[in-house]
Every structure is written in C-alpha cells, then in structure tokens.
C-alpha cells in the first residue's frame, strides 16, 4: 500500500524550492504574529481563540492543504510526466495512497505543529487551547489533503477549485447560510477541538459523532474517488 520511491519523488516535488518557501512562510508568519501579539497584548484566552480560530484554522490550514494536496499530483498530470509513473508496475491505488500519505504528513507537519506552538506562545496552553487547536489543525489537514488530492486528479484547475471551496464555501457561504456549516471541514475540526478544550472555550456547529463520521466518510470517499479516477486517467492536451 506504500511505495517508497513514489513517496520520495512526491516529497521532492512538494518540498522543492519555491513550494517549500510558501510552506515555510505561512507557519512562520503565524509564529511571528503570535510572538508580536503576546508581547503587545499579553496572554489572553480570547485573543488566542481569535488568532488560532480565525487565522490559523480558517485560512492557513486550508491553504497548506491546497498546496500540499494538489501539489502532490496535479503538476505531474499537468505537464504529462505522470505517464512515466503510471507505466511502471505499481498499482494506481498504491500511487494515490502513497501520495495521499505524503501530502497528509506534509500538511500536518506544516499546519498542526505550528498551530500548537503558536498556542503555547500565545497563552501557554491555558484551558488546553493549544492542544485543541493543534489537534483540530491536524484533523482538518488530513481531510483537506484527501479532498484536494481528489481535485488534483479530477480537474486541471485543481488549485482554483480548491480555493473556491476553501474561501467561498467555508468562509462566505458558511457565514451566510447556517446549513452550509454542517458541511465544512473547518467545523468538523472545531468539533473535535471543542471536545478537547475546557468547557465552552471553543464552540462548534456540529456534534462530535457527526463530525467524526463525516470526516472519515469524506476522507475515505475522496481517496477512493481519486484512485478510481486515476485508473481511468486520460491525458488531455494543452488547451
């Protein structure tokens, strides 16, 4: 189920010069802002919630998910070099699973760990906020990686489609239509966070059991969909 060579190639594609610069810059910015806020405003639970919920979980995690999830496969399909990979005697579901695991590892590393440290910097894990948001970021990263990997296989405009989901659906529609919040990776992650943090520190729109079921269904469904699509992949020419 895991091919070391495919994994190595994917790591190198994901952590190539420019992509890595973006992947490092986002968490670094979060940490810099956290330090600045701590120095200027002091430790405060409300501030920590605002910054980790509003900035880290709502903006940074989806973006890292888009970069890692689509970056794991979309460029190869785009420039056609995927044919060299597909012509090797490696099952296509193994290719997808390996790339998914790498994307998940990279996005958890670049989103959950910085979120946890930002929480520590902001108020030293008071009311378990740092751990809660760290876990939420990790959970969200897993689901985002699977969704955006699927998008990367399905459409040539994977990055744009992923951004439309992350920005328009989760922020805009989610804030206008209450029902849309149930179908949001961010809210599912928040549900797990609210369970870990001390009572009432984090509020979520969905209950924990629903959130876990939806997370698992979406992650597995996206993976299965991506493997199925890669099995029947046809390479389109340049438009």
């Amino acid at each position: 189920m895991y091919n070391a060579t495919v994994a190595r190639l994917t790591y190198r594609a994901l952590l190539g010069r420019k992509r890595a610069a973006l992947l490092f810059a986002l968490p670094l910015l979060l940490l810099v802002i956290s330090v600045a806020v701590r120095l200027l405003a002091g430790a405060d639970d409300g501030t920590t919630g605002d910054l980790l919920g509003g900035f880290a979980l709502a903006t940074m995690v989806p973006l890292i998910g888009v970069i890692a999830g689509t970056g794991a496969i979309a460029p190869e399909i785009d420039d056609g070099s995927i044919v060299y990979l597909l012509s090797k005697p490696v099952r296509r579901s193994v290719v997808i699973l390996t790339k998914l695991l790498v994307a998940m590892g990279v996005s958890v590393f670049f989103s959950a760990i910085p979120t946890f440290f930002a929480g520590l910097i902001l108020d030293g894990n008071s009311r378990h906020l740092a751990v809660a948001y760290g876990v939420a970021a990790a959970v969200a990263s897993l689901a985002y990686s699977a969704i955006f990997l699927l998008l990367g296989v399905v459409t040539r405009h994977a990055v744009v489609a992923g951004l439309v989901y992350a920005l328009v659906w989760e922020s805009l529609i989610g804030s206008l239509v209450p029902g849309a919040r149930t179908l949001s990776v961010q809210q599912w992650a928040l549900a797990s966070a609210s369970h870990i943090a001390d009572g009432g520190a984090i509020s979520a729109q969905v209950g924990l059991p629903v959130a876990i079921v939806l997370l698992v269904v979406v992650t597995l469904g996206a993976t299965w969909g991506a493997a199925g699509k890669l099995r029947r992949l046809t390479l389109a020419g340049e438009e």
């Binding site: 973006l22 802002i33 744009v160």
Partner: protein, 304 residues
Amino acid sequence: MSSEPALRDGSRDDSRIHDIGYRHYDGERLGRASIRRALFSQSLRGAYGLGRSGRSKVLPMILFAVMCLPAAIIDAVTVYVHLTKLPVEYTRYAIYLQAVIGLYLAAQAPQSVSRDLRFKTVPLYFSRPMERVDYVLAKFGAMAAALFVLTATPLVVLYVGALLAKLSFGTQTAGFGKGLLAAALLSLVLAGIGLVLAAATPRRGFGVAAVIAVLTISYAAVSSVEAIAYSRGNTGAIGWLGLFSPITLIDGVQSWWLGAHSAAVGGYGPPGVVAGIVYLLVALGLIGGSFALLMRRYRKVGLG
C-alpha cells in the same frame, strides 16, 4: 514609437522578418507601438477568455457575473423600497467582494505570464522589435485593465441604478467618481502584486496558490491583529495595521483621501494626515516596485 516615421520612409532598421528566401514582404512594417498595442489587447481579451477555448471562458465569466450580481440586487432593492441612498458605498463595494477579485487575479495573472514562461515563448517575443519595457507595460496594463473592468462594471451598474431610483445626481456622481478612482488604484496595486508573483514561476498552479496566499493570508493576519487591537482598546494601532495587506491598504487610502468610511474594525482608518500620506505613498510604491521587479524579472529570460 520614435521609429515609426522612419519606417514609413522605407527604412528597414526595425524589421526582423527574416528573409530566408521564401517570399518577399514589402508591406508596411508596424513598429513597437503596434506590437505593444497588440500584446495589450490580446492579454486583456485573454484575461476574460475571449479568443480562447470555451473552458477558459467559464471561470472569468462566472467571477464577472458574481461581481455584478450583488450590484444589480442592490439596485432593485433601492428602486422598489424607495431608499434615499444606496445601502453600499461605491468605495466599499470592492472591499466586500475582495474574495472574488482575489480569485480572479489568482486565476488570470498566472494565465497571462506563466504560460509564456512555461512554453518558452518569451524569447520569441523578444526576437521581435520590442523591448523588455514594452512587454512589461503591455502585460501590466492588460492585467490592471482587466481588474478595472471587473471592479468598475458593478460600480456603473450601481450608478445607473441610483440614477434610475432618482437619487441626488450630484452626490451619486461624486461617489461614483471616487469609487472609480479607488477601483483604478486597487487594480494597479493588485495587478502589480499578482504579476510579480505569477512571473516568478512557470507553473500555473503554483502561481495561483502564491497569489491567493499572499492576498488572503495578509488580509486574515491584518484583520485578526486589528480585532485584537480593538478588543484591547488600542484604536490608534488599527489605523496603521492596514498598511500590511493590499486590500486594507486601499481601504486606508480611500478612507483618508476620498472620505470613505473605513472597513476596518470600528471604522478606524489612518489616524491623521501623516498616516494618510504614508498609505498613499505605500500604494504608489507598491505599483512602482512591482513594475521594477517585473522589469528585473525579464532582464534575463533565456531558454533554460
């Protein structure tokens, strides 16, 4: 431009059509200005998918429609409910719909420059009688014009609706003029940022991610910190924090210069004249700086 009269005299110094013996060309040679115009109009059309495949029209046209739709709805409400003024300021409209503008820029800026880099067509452009500055001017101008079409069209819709609702002509015209000015500034700033990021890479997907990351991350960071400053009662700092993201920068410029109400938390725009001038200078500096960076980027575009 200066070479055009010389061309009409029959001078061949500007011609690069290589005579390799197939067929003679003795028509008029159009010079640099014409090339620049052609590249500008092709890039502008390309930014809306015109003259390209149907699939590449889908996204820009949808975003354009999404941009105009709220303005039409606001018009309808204003006319039927007999409001005495528009519920949205002209200058605030682009701020509300910044996500749409950001997506458009992220999708179309790499479209405009990354493909030339990826398919190595840039050296072909420069084998014609055109200079680096022509290419940069045409691409920059086209992207800014495309963004201006995107941001100014809904303002026109709003303005027409306001006049149909028989709102005060003077007030509406003044507000509309300010809105257009702000839209032009926004277009130039965003076009510069988008093109600099997109021209850094031949990968389209990466360019898209980089543009959107810079726009949304800077905005999210600035508004989180602003909200924290607001809750700590530090309202003076809010006015300065806006300098750190493109949209809040434009918001600061228009709230100081054009008398718009700031969209920052609590409506705290730049505090005082000095801050206002700093905002304007930073905005102009961004435009000039991105032009200079683009010029630097294309100083060496080899086949490598």
